[in-house]
């Protein structure tokens, strides 16, 4: 492995910004000729930090249990980076680390130190919000640029934001705003909101309430889903659910039922069983997401095809966010011809960064909170329904900034 030059340990946001400006000044495009010159291979280590956890069983029988979600996306990102790297004498290496189950502080510290010892300064974090927040508190992470490829929590983009933390996973607010824009465009502006019992359900519901207010929809009734959860298979089959859902969804006149069930415990039960004949949207039904198999436009089929060949299954939002994070590093290495993590981090955060991601336009990070601005898919169970932002929702800079926290909404001090 090539020596890692210019580590960003201790680099301040100011220094990183200065680097970005210096870079912007010298991004003249020059041809590369591996046939004519053979410079030493630059090795770019990219860290991946995941955690062991109980496998979640989806309610539908059509989707498999996933044991390698996120990781497969990161691995494909490395392969894609290497295909380009071949022409530039750059070699990308994924340094994988998996944290043990539970909240194990020594385990986290050991993993961060091991990654740092292997030269990792650019780290893809495939962790839930709390674990990610703990990672960011660890002194070893201070010298790294961390790309959050999983946690959708809005607090990480606001009160708990960090100058060295970027997010390739969309935030809950982006997802809720994407759905709201479409429903409002359809003039389905009276919503019934059904919310699960877990904190993440509450968080998504909060994003939905905010979106309703922003885009002029009304939540006419809110319900909590408090029924006992059970096994998805039982000999009694569908009959219990068929009698339960109509009564549970009885209420004020609405156009659409919006569900908040991130753990996939009951949301799939709602469609076709509601008291009134209404469509279901949210975490099930019509789902706002960063990525889904139903997406075919803008060359997406090529990415699906590469992923499925490698992983033997479909690519999820989490896989795509991890792929994006690794590709962001690759894109920076291609453009800067550098393996220096400080140079790469500066380019990723800088004004010239643009990533193509099969979503029809170039993606870049918002300077105020480190969030990757991106179109959000509205995926039906078997077909893509639409892509937000919707026509008519305007923004002076980028229509993508109509989704989630705009600069004026941001409560992140680090990026400002």
């Amino acid at each position: 492995m090539a020596a890692i030059r210019g580590m960003i340990r201790g680099a301040t946001a100011r220094r990183v910004l200065a680097g970005a400006l210096a870079l912007a000044a010298c991004t003249a495009v020059v041809p590369v000729s591996p046939a004519r010159a053979q410079p030493a291979v630059q090795t770019v280590p990219v860290g991946y930090l995941g955690q062991e956890e109980a496998v979640r069983t989806p309610l539908t029988f059509l989707r498999p249990e996933l044991r390698d979600e996120g990781l497969q996306g990161a691995r494909l990102g490395i392969l894609d980076n290497d295909t380009t790297g071949r022409f530039l004498n750059q070699d990308f290496e994924l340094v994988e680390a998996i944290l043990p189950r539970g909240d194990d502080a020594p385990g986290l510290a050991a993993a961060v130190e091991a990654l740092a010892a292997k030269g990792v300064r650019l780290l893809v974090a495939d962790l839930p919000a709390d674990r990610l927040a703990r990672l960011m508190e660890h002194p070893g992470a201070a010298g790294m640029l961390v790309l959050n490829a999983r946690a959708t929590d809005d607090a990480l983009r606001n009160e708990r934001c960090r100058a060295n933390l970027l997010h390739t996973a969309p935030s809950r607010r982006m997802l809720a705003d994407a759905l709201a824009q479409y429903l409002v465009w359809k003039r389905w502006d009276r919503w019934m909101l059904v919310v699960g019992r877990y904190p993440e359900d509450q968080a998504f519901a909060e994003a939905v309430r905010r979106a309703a207010k922003r885009f002029g929809a009304r939540i006419v009734e809110e319900k909590s889903w408090t029924f006992e959860e059970g096994n998805r298979r039982s000999d009694s089959g569908h009959t219990t659910v068929q009698s339960l859902v109509p009564t549970a969804t009885q209420g004020a006149e609405h156009h659409v039922l919006v569900v908040a069930d991130e753990r996939d415990i009951f949301g799939e039960y709602l469609a076709y069983r509601t008291w009134q004949p209404r469509p279901v949207a949210g975490t099930q039904g019509l789902v706002p997401t960063g990525w889904d198999r139903v997406h075919e436009q803008w060359g997406a089929t090529q990415l699906h095809s590469r992923f499925e060949k490698q992983a033997g299954r479909w690519m999820t939002q989490r896989d795509h966010a991890a792929w994006l994070a690794v590709r962001a590093v690759g894109e920076a290495a291609t453009r800067t011809r550098s393996a220096d993590p400080a140079v790469l981090a500066a380019h990723i955060k800088g004004p010239d960064f643009a990533l193509a991601a099969f979503k029809g336009q170039a993606l870049s990070f918002r300077p105020w909170d480190g969030q990757l601005r991106q179109p959000i898919l509205l995926a039906g169970p078997r077909m893509l329904v639409s892509v937000s932002p919707q026509d008519g929702f305007l923004h002076p800079v980028s229509t993508l900034d109509t989704l989630g926290d705009d600069a004026a909404d941001s409560r992140c001090g680090a990026g400002k």
């Binding site: 495009v29 000729s33 295909t83 380009t84």
Partner: protein
Amino acid sequence: MGATTRGTGAALLAAALSMPAGGAAAYTVHVSNERSNTIVVVSPETLKIERTIPVGRRPRGMVFSHDFARLYVCVGDDDRVDVLDVASGTVVESLPSGPDPELLVLHPTKPILYVANEDDNMVSVVDLERRQVVSEIQVGVEPEGMGISPDGSTLVNTSETTNMAHFIDTTTLQITDNVLLDARPRVARFTADGAQVWVSSEIGGTVSVIDAGTRRIVKKIGFEIRGVPREAIQPVGIELTADGKRAFVALGPSNRVAEIDQKTFEVKAYHLVGQRVWNLALSPDQTRLYTTNGVSNDMSVIDIVAGKVLKSLPVGDSPWGVVVKP
């Protein structure tokens, strides 16, 4: 050249010169409809569809044989190239092409097709006499655009995710240069004199002009249209007039075609066409430009002398490629 390829520059010029003035020529316009799975033939005089030819699934890139008797059509979802007999308007055979062919180019003198296999990071070399893939060239992620120099010595392939133009020596089939471009390069076209290669970057929103000798970018052309968001400006199809004066670039969902001075690189005008304009083809006398508009399902016909759109006509579902037979 790719989707908008006619024959060689020389053949074209000869055809143009032999044509009566006023564009009253017996040429035909061929459009591929990627959703209808058809090729339609449009008469330039009546601007009506003369013939609809069913082909394989998802037809996109097309190129004529040297004598214009055959039309080779990439049918990506069938992983092959369909061969149309132009006179009878029927598919007479199919050629192997490697997986998911999208764009292709014909060697200007030899019976060799070069096909970009979008799904496989390869350019396939198809021998038309032996009717088989005789070689494969490993390129970047998602190969797309294909251009060939007028003398046939240099092939240029773009790779959409690697963001490069790969210069390939057609004798050795080795990559000799890689030029880094703005995001998602799509179409590559040599100028008639072979001195430059113009490449569109769909997501980057620019056209790069590469010096074919030094392999350096000599100019990056940007676009700005009042009232159109920057992200809607997505350059794809390119047509360069044979006299070296004018260039036309299809700008995707901005629904415009940019007209550019080939010498100064200055954008002279934006022509408003149908929705999501993909590709372009000049008439043999270089007085008209035909565009495929993928979302509005029509073709716009631009009088490039008067600088105005003459007509839009429906041609099928999701028109994509367009080529002109003199």
